[in-house]
């Protein structure tokens, strides 16, 4: 059976949106897929040595909130200082209580399973980021690098 390939583009840098690329990549690797994730724009945050991702209720009417907070807090109040930190803390607690893996763990599992991480050099430069801020094992390249792998992929996802 020839090895299947999964190519993912990760463009989001929030706590909630960081999960799909790492969950799908680690699972695909466990199923025998050769897997690569291309991190660009805000997705670069997922490669930082110290992950400090947050979740925001702003502009996200689909986000379930505990204790009927979505009724008590109109959208404007969600912009108050401290709301984002509070939501992030609550989300992390909820995830831990449900046995959802931490992002750090999932990322490590991806690396253990030989998922290849490629960071978009153009956006690294755009945001004045330094390679030293990222974890080891990341490769740097551009759109052509992505297509070299994605062109042969069986599944290609933009997240």
């Amino acid at each position: 059976m020839e090895e299947k390939k999964l190519a993912i583009i990760a463009t989001k840098g929030t706590l909630d949106w960081a999960y799909p690329p790492f969950i799908l990549a680690s699972t695909a690797a466990a199923l025998g897929y050769e897997t690569q994730i291309f991190f660009t724009f805000y997705g670069l945050q997922l490669l930082k040595k110290r992950l400090n991702l947050k979740v925001s209720p702003l502009g996200n009417p689909g986000m379930p909130m505990p204790m009927g907070m979505d009724v008590w807090f109109p959208n404007l109040a969600l912009a108050l200082p401290g709301m984002e930190a509070m939501m992030t803390t609550m989300m992390k607690k909820k995830m831990a209580s449900k046995g959802v893996a931490s992002l750090e763990d999932l990322r490590e599992l991806c690396l253990e399973a030989d998922v290849k991480f490629v960071a978009c050099q153009m956006t690294v430069d755009l945001f004045d980021m330094d390679h030293s801020a990222f974890i080891d094992g990341v490769e740097y390249g551009g759109a052509a690098t992505f297509f070299e792998f994605a062109g042969d992929s069986d599944i290609c996802l933009y997240i």
Partner: protein, 76 residues
């Protein structure tokens, strides 16, 4: 005599951890050996079927015992 060679307790873990742990455990076993997996994630029932189909490892049994899901998987 136990009808499995190794046991993996994935209770309390959520998707995709039971699959990832099982994959890791199977990697350390030899062909023909049986891994018993215990999970509490209801999604794992479909997931272990799908895992078996795609990896060639054989799902010998899948059952529920008091809120826990028990799988026996034979390494290909």
């Amino acid at each position: 005599m136990a009808d499995f060679d190794q046991e993996l307790d994935a209770s309390g873990l959520n998707c995709p951890l039971p699959i990832l742990r099982a994959k890791k455990a199977l990697a350390a076993m030899s062909s023909g050996q049986v891994l018993k997996i215990i999970a509490t994630d209801p999604g794992s029932v479909k997931d272990f079927e799908a895992f078996a189909t795609q990896t060639g490892n054989e799902l010998l049994s899948s059952s529920e015992e008091g809120g826990k899901y028990v799988f026996l998987m034979k390494k290909a």
